[in-house]
Assembly symmetry: C2
Homo-oligomer: 240 residues x 2
DNA sequence: TGTATTTTCATTGTCGACATAAAATATCTC
DNA sequence: GAGATATTTTATGTCGACAATGAAAATACA
């Protein structure tokens, strides 16, 4: 199921300073969950994690609580903690919220962006171009996420940004699942849309920003949906 | 600063079962934070909490991590954990997000509500009426929150519901702060608007639901804003 | 042989103690 | 006496160990 070979034996990896343990575990696990290195629904062994990071179970557990708070793992009391399953039943709601956040954050960015933020987003756009040229799909997924996250942050509404980033991250797992059905055309369409979106933000044209954000969202939703229906095999594979 | 005398000595309160500790601490603290029983910005002493609940520090800390995940407390590494300050600077963003969530959840409720959910929401509306009649302000604040949360849940989009409940809870602290400026008129206006809102949801009239939700949001935002400007004294009181 | 009951076993949730970090206090130098 | 440095103090972050829990294995029973 996993797209990459699991990182099996990541030993103590050097002494960590006090208070760094939970953060490191949290970040590492988050990464592995979103990359599908850890299979959705698979159980997480606290003891193994403790050995792997060379720390005791206490900070591991605190990291688990944090991960549970972000919905990345699910804790079954007195039993296990499992990697959050991908909930296909809630996909329509996911798409709905994702679309709305695309629109709202892009609109706000058009209003509130500073020149510095604009430049930083352009940089990310260039990185995306490079990833497309290199046909580096994992990099494309990652940079795409950072691109939209940066736009949201330029909008400067913490509530929208938090939800949007959560949705984008959840979306990364879907994109990973279906990345096999990527063709060469699609990334270029995204690239163009990003270009138009950034132009609207630069020009502070709110309505244009809204329109392109909505179109972009629909594009992505359609893409994932068609990939899903084209590849039903995967659905039966995923533990729900 | 606190509106009620702090619950000082809540002793072990009976043996708890395994795994109930964190939940109880979390819920109790959450309540006390939202009721302003715990002053925003005030430090939280893990040891005292452990004594108060009659458990060790480990489950207390896990509860703190959960609270931090919901933004109810802020952890200063190696120093304290403090009750999340009320961030007056971000208030405009808060109002913006709150308004949008009012609209979106009410719209969705008009589409997706079942008869059972509708009946349950009507019950909450009746409870609200009773609270208004009894001039029981804390009950009004609590029931109002549950009323809108129930509407959101009837809309059946977890992403919106989660964000909205978080915003409503954060709003409870603001309402508590300014509840002194409540007059007798305002609750009745809210009551009427709730009535219209429910009627729109019952009739599944999406556009009407949207309109009244927007109006209701503006009403509340205006109310809080005018209370704030009328009572600046409080701002200097709050440790930021 | 199939079902109900007991026992074992693995893993969690919790505890008390210790080490460590940062602030508060005391001490020293000029 | 003022600033810099050393020391004490207080509360955190972490640890290893233990007990409770629920599932699986083993046993008893019809």
């Amino acid at each position: 199921m996993s797209l990459e070979e699991p990182v099996s034996t990541q030993l103590p990896e050097g002494k960590r300073k006090r208070g760094q343990g939970v953060g490191a575990v949290f970040e590492t696990l988050k990464h592995e969950i979103l990359n599908l290195t850890l299979e959705p629904g698979s159980p997480i062994d606290e003891v193994k994690l403790a050995e792997r990071f060379g720390i005791s179970r206490t900070p591991i557990r605190e990291a688990m609580v944090k991960l549970a708070g972000e919905g990345l793992v699910v804790t079954l009391p007195n039993r296990f903690t499992i990697v959050a399953p991908i909930d296909f039943a809630n996909l329509p709601q996911f798409f709905d919220a994702l679309s709305l956040m695309y629109r709202v954050t892009t609109r706000l960015a058009a209003v509130n962006r500073t020149e510095e933020e604009l430049a930083a987003i352009w940089d990310l756009q260039h990185s995306y171009t490079q990833a497309v040229d290199a046909k580096d799909v994992p990099a494309m997924i990652e940079v795409n996420r950072n691109f939209h996250a940066a736009i949201a942050q330029a909008g400067k509404n913490r509530y929208y940004t938090d939800l949007f980033i959560r949705l984008l991250d959840e979306g990364r797992r879907l994109l990973r699942l279906y990345y096999s059905s990527y063709n060469d055309e699609l990334p270029k369409i995204y690239l163009q849309e990003h270009e138009v979106m950034l132009a609207a933000i630069e020009a502070q044209d709110i309505e244009a920003a809204d329109r392109i954000a909505q179109a972009h969202a629909e594009q992505i939703v359609l893409q994932i949906q068609s990939a899903m229906t084209a590849d039903r095999r995967l659905n039966s594979d995923i533990s729900l």
